[in-house]
């Protein structure tokens, strides 16, 4: 499979819940997630992110995150990973939902990115 989806959240429960929402509309899309610190506290863990990348059946990863520090860990993971990561500064749940629905419908990436554009709400300026 070419594209997979990665969800990175500060909270373990969000990292479990968002994939549940997505799988309902995208049963054939590879979706993995990383949530919370190594101790399952609020935060993110580079190691968990790396595992979620490795476990994802996609060879190119569309990544979605909640808060800025998750983005920084995602970037570190991207620099260390062999797979290509694309990080989207869009609303986490809503953006990932759109991407998953469209991947399931076999829509091409440029079109997906066009539909994600209005959902960009982070990392401005």
């Amino acid at each position: 499979m070419k594209y997979g989806i990665l969800i990175v959240s500060h909270v373990p429960e969000i990292a479990v819940g968002v994939p549940r929402l997505l799988r309902q509309v995208a049963k054939d899309v590879a979706i993995t997630s990383a949530g919370g610190t190594d101790e399952n506290e609020i935060g993110t863990s580079l190691e968990k992110i790396q595992q979620a990348i490795d476990q994802n059946a996609g060879t190119e990863i569309l990544a979605f995150y909640d808060l800025g520090s998750a983005r920084m860990n995602l970037e570190m993971a991207a620099e260390l990973a062999t797979k290509k990561l694309r990080i989207y500064d869009v609303a986490l749940i809503e953006g990932a939902y759109v991407a998953a629905s469209l991947l399931q419908a076999k829509v091409e990436l440029p079109t997906i990115e066009k539909q994600l554009a209005p959902l960009k709400i982070k990392n401005q300026d």
Partner: protein, 195 residues
């Protein structure tokens, strides 16, 4: 046509049977452009409606419509719950003023549109309710009118509901809520015929 309690109960029974019979088909339609639960949602809803009506034995049309609304609102679990629920609730409200079916369904459609903000052509159940109401007002609701309305959703691009996330990819599929609304109005015709 005036709606009576008896006619209404026949109508809603007929609709319930249809929904349960077509449950998997409705969910299949929904899996193409949504989350694949529309049939299951509605089947849960109409089952609750039947239980409610049996348990409460409503003595007038207004009470029966209100019980239907409440059962749908609380049991459907998807968009169809507040949508159908609001439609029946608006019918219940209007039924204390008039029992003229065209008027009841006019209120219902207004409620639907207020709740979901969908306009004609947005590829939702509204695309069935609007032409049905128009036909009723002209005294000419037929199976052909209903079928045409349902099929009209196929070439549309969804602008409301989950299917709207698919953009152009929603084109070429029937809207599941339009199909189930088609069953609702076919059930009305059947119930009338039986009378």
């Amino acid at each position: 046509m005036k709606l009576t309690l008896e006619k209404y109960l026949n109508w809603i029974n007929e609709f319930s049977q249809q929904v349960i019979a077509k449950k998997d088909y409705l969910s299949d339609l929904d899996s193409k452009i949504g989350d694949g639960d529309h049939g299951n949602n509605l089947a849960r809803g109409v089952t609750a409606v039947q239980q409610m009506l049996t348990a409460k034995q409503p003595q007038d049309l207004t009470a029966a419509l209100k019980l239907t609304a409440m059962a749908l609102i609380s049991k459907v679990g998807g968009a169809a719950g507040p949508l159908y629920g609001t439609a029946f609730l608006e019918m219940a409200k209007t039924s204390s003023r008039t029992t003229e079916l065209a008027e009841l369904l006019t209120s219902a459609t207004a409620g639907l549109q207020k709740r979901g903000q969908a306009k004609a052509g947005d590829k939702t159940m509204v695309d069935v309710w609007l032409p049905v109401v128009a036909a009723l007002k002209n005294g000419g609701l037929t199976s052909a009118v209903i079928k045409k309305a349902v099929v009209s959703t196929k070439p549309l691009e969804a602008k409301r509901g989950r299917a709207s996330y698919l953009g152009e990819r929603s084109i070429g599929h029937l809207d599941p809520g339009a199909v189930s609304s088609g069953y609702l109005f076919e059930a009305l015709l059947t119930a009338e015929d039986e009378k």
